[in-house]
């Protein structure tokens, strides 16, 4: 049973643990090499340019940040809404939230033009900038979720876990609102400039976060040879399905709204029916692989009995999430700004044409460093502390009957 699982150093499997660390360390080594290489030569070595200013690193970074806030949802359902099944998973949820946020922020910082000025970013705030607010939310998230983890793990502080959990829940909603608004507040670009980005990113975060949680949980259970309880799996996979469906709903509303406005037709045609990578990534990646296929898998009759199906569906949601971020971030910039509506435009600065972007290996290495950071933090933390979900099956049975 889960309660008897040995997690400490004394329980063996040392070689496999060190191999995991080595794997993560190797990726991090690549990331740091890429960082120093770019720091020395400049962004000229990347595929990013003056048209596509945010590229592959930002896809990974924003995905991780959004998923980080979403993965905390598991804890919130437990602490704020009192569901025992999720409460048992609150420590792992909090840990993943911190690890993924650290990973996402690491990529963002390593990609800065002047990463050496990180201290400037922490000491100079323009409070009209949603980006500045994000920095406050990210730092606060570390503090609040860290405190929340302490209240969960220290028996004396346990009564505090509910109010601190509530604060963490509200904080994460604000954080994702701010992250979505980074795009929502871009008034001039056809692909952004919509209040929908804030709630849409929250819904995406629910799906990506829960998917990430399910993937990690599956691996941990497998690692410790624990069979996943059918009732737990059933409830969690249904919740993931609801989040994925809600994400698709918001996507549909965003594009339907755009299609209603004549001024947005060109952009929608470009994104939804264009001859470009973004159209492919949207339909094949975001909608099909990240939406429809996981939904079919999660609602398939055997899903609750077969953890592999849920694991695979969650993995596909994560893949689709990266596709969505690529479409949103890069696709939104690739479509040219319309300076003179009703006019064809040409210039030496690529006005009026779809901007091209070919990510370099350095950007990929930066981006993967975010995942590696989250991976390393999680691997070490679950090794030294008790993060494996400890279920009280009697209570789950009661909850299942009630619910």
């Amino acid at each position: 049973m889960a309660n008897n699982v040995c997690l400490g150093r004394e329980c063996g499997k040392n070689t496999r643990f060190w191999m995991l660390l080595a794997l993560g360390g190797l990726v991090m080594l690549g990331t740091l090499s890429a960082f120093f290489y770019l720091e020395h030569h400049g962004h000229i070595m990347t595929g990013m340019n003056n048209q596509i200013v945010w590229g592959l690193p930002h896809v990974f970074a924003v995905f991780l940040i959004v998923a980080a806030s979403g993965v905390l949802n598991v804890a919130s359902i437990g602490s704020v809404f009192g569901k025992k099944l999720y409460k048992a998973r609150a420590p792992l949820s909090g840990l993943l939230a911190l690890a993924m946020l650290a990973g996402g922020l690491a990529v963002l910082v390593l990609d800065l033009g002047r990463p050496d000025r990180l201290i400037v970013a922490m000491t100079h705030y323009n409070f009209k900038s949603i980006f500045a607010w994000n920095m406050i939310f990210y730092n606060g998230f570390f503090a609040i979720v860290g405190l929340y983890l302490i209240t969960l793990m220290d028996h004396k502080l346990k009564p505090w876990s509910k109010p601190v959990g509530l604060l963490a829940f509200l904080w994460r909603l604000a954080l994702t609102t701010a992250t979505g608004s980074i795009f929502g507040f871009l008034v001039a670009r056809a692909g952004y400039n919509s209040a929908l980005y804030a709630p849409m990113f929250i819904i995406y975060s629910f799906a990506y976060g829960l998917a990430a949680f399910l993937v990690v949980q599956s691996v941990m259970y497998k690692w410790n040879n624990i069979a996943m309880d059918e009732r737990i799996l059933s409830r969690m996979k249904n919740l993931l399905a609801v989040f994925v469906a809600a994400g698709l709903y918001f996507t549909v509303v965003l594009h339907l709204t755009n299609m209603y406005f004549a001024k947005q037709w060109e952009f929608e045609r470009f994104l939804l029916a264009g001859d470009n990578i973004y159209t492919t990534l949207f339909w094949l990646g975001q909608v099909f692989i990240g939406g429809i296929v996981p939904l079919l898998m999660l609602f398939s009759p055997n899903a609750a009995k077969n953890p592999a199906i849920v694991f695979l569906a969650a993995l596909l949601v994560l893949v689709g999430g990266h596709a969505q971020m690529y479409v949103t971030i890069v696709g939104g910039q690739a479509f040219p700004l319309d300076l003179f509506p009703g006019y064809a435009q040409t210039s030496s600065f690529f006005d009026g044409e779809v901007h091209s972007y070919s990510p370099s290996i350095w950007e990929l290495m930066l981006g993967l460093g975010g995942i590696a950071t989250a991976f390393l933090i999680t691997t070490v933390a679950v090794r030294v502390l008790k993060f494996l979900p400890q279920d009280d099956f009697k209570e789950i049975e009661l909850e299942t009957k009630e619910g």
Binding site: N50, S129, L186, S348
Partner: protein, 251 residues
């Protein structure tokens, strides 16, 4: 009582009056040109802060802007130490845009650069405040606190900003630039502060096109203020209500 006449004292008074008048005239003539010139030129010593009494602006007459002419671009590159290369990763502070009306086929060519908005989105979004607007309306980047996040480039409706992608050499000491920072047209602030017009405007005049007029929009006597009052002018992306400092005529 009859006061005795004192012709001497009258004489003294008269001398004093004329002395005071002469002194006032000398002092006045010494100060007046300075006061007058200050009023006209609004020139200021280097240590004096810029003032919002001035709003620098520009009017581009697209009917005078010549197709194929890139003198303004060349002058900008020379003045500000830009390479003049036009790859996707190269900086371009000013560019010539050719536009063609999709309905009527009417064609225009015009220079496009930072529009020095009154409400600049780049300044709004900059997390550190590195993007800022001077009191006189010139939008600049503080190279000391720009962290190179490029959010301002995402926000600028005019694609006016460039990111320095590689190390730079042989810079103009008056125009510091640097790898990893964002930059854009400064209205040649170093020239403006010396009461000169931006390099692009000077080059356009020299080429005989006189398509660009630069000056203080707040001064009703300036050429640019008179022109924007006399002619129908357009703000690019006027729908955004940014109140740009650069306006266009003929489109």
């Amino acid at each position: 009582m009859n006061e005795p006449k004192r012709p001497e004292s009258n004489l003294e008074n008269g001398d004093r009056r004329s002395f005071l008048a002469a002194s006032a005239a000398v002092a006045g003539s010494a100060v007046a040109p300075g006061v007058l010139l200050y009023g006209i030129a609004q020139a200021k010593p280097a240590e004096e802060a810029v003032t919002d009494k001035v709003r620098w602006g520009m009017l581009v007459d697209t009917t005078k802007c010549a197709t194929g002419c890139t003198d303004c671009v060349t002058a900008c590159n020379t003045e500000n130490g830009l390479s003049g290369k036009t790859g996707p990763q190269d900086s371009q502070w000013i560019r010539k845009v050719d536009i063609k009306n999709l309905q009527t086929g009417a064609q225009h060519t015009l220079p496009m650069m930072c529009q020095h908005c009154e409400h600049p989105p780049c300044v709004d979004v900059c997390p550190t405040g590195a993007s800022f607007k001077r009191a006189d309306g010139i939008v600049l980047v503080d190279r000391h606190i720009c962290i190179g996040c490029r959010y301002c480039m995402m926000a600028c409706p005019y694609k006016a900003r460039s990111f320095v992608h590689e190390p730079l050499t042989e810079q103009n000491p008056e125009v510091p630039r640097g790898k990893g920072c964002v930059e854009s047209c400064t209205f040649c602030v170093q020239r403006v502060d010396r009461d000169q017009s931006p390099a692009c405007v000077e080059a356009c005049d020299k080429a005989g096109h006189k398509a660009m007029v630069f000056g203080d929009l707040n001064n009703p006597e300036s050429d640019v203020a008179k022109a924007v009052k006399a002619y129908a002018t357009t703000e690019v992306r006027g729908d955004l209500r940014l109140n740009t400092g650069v306006r266009y005529q003929g489109i």
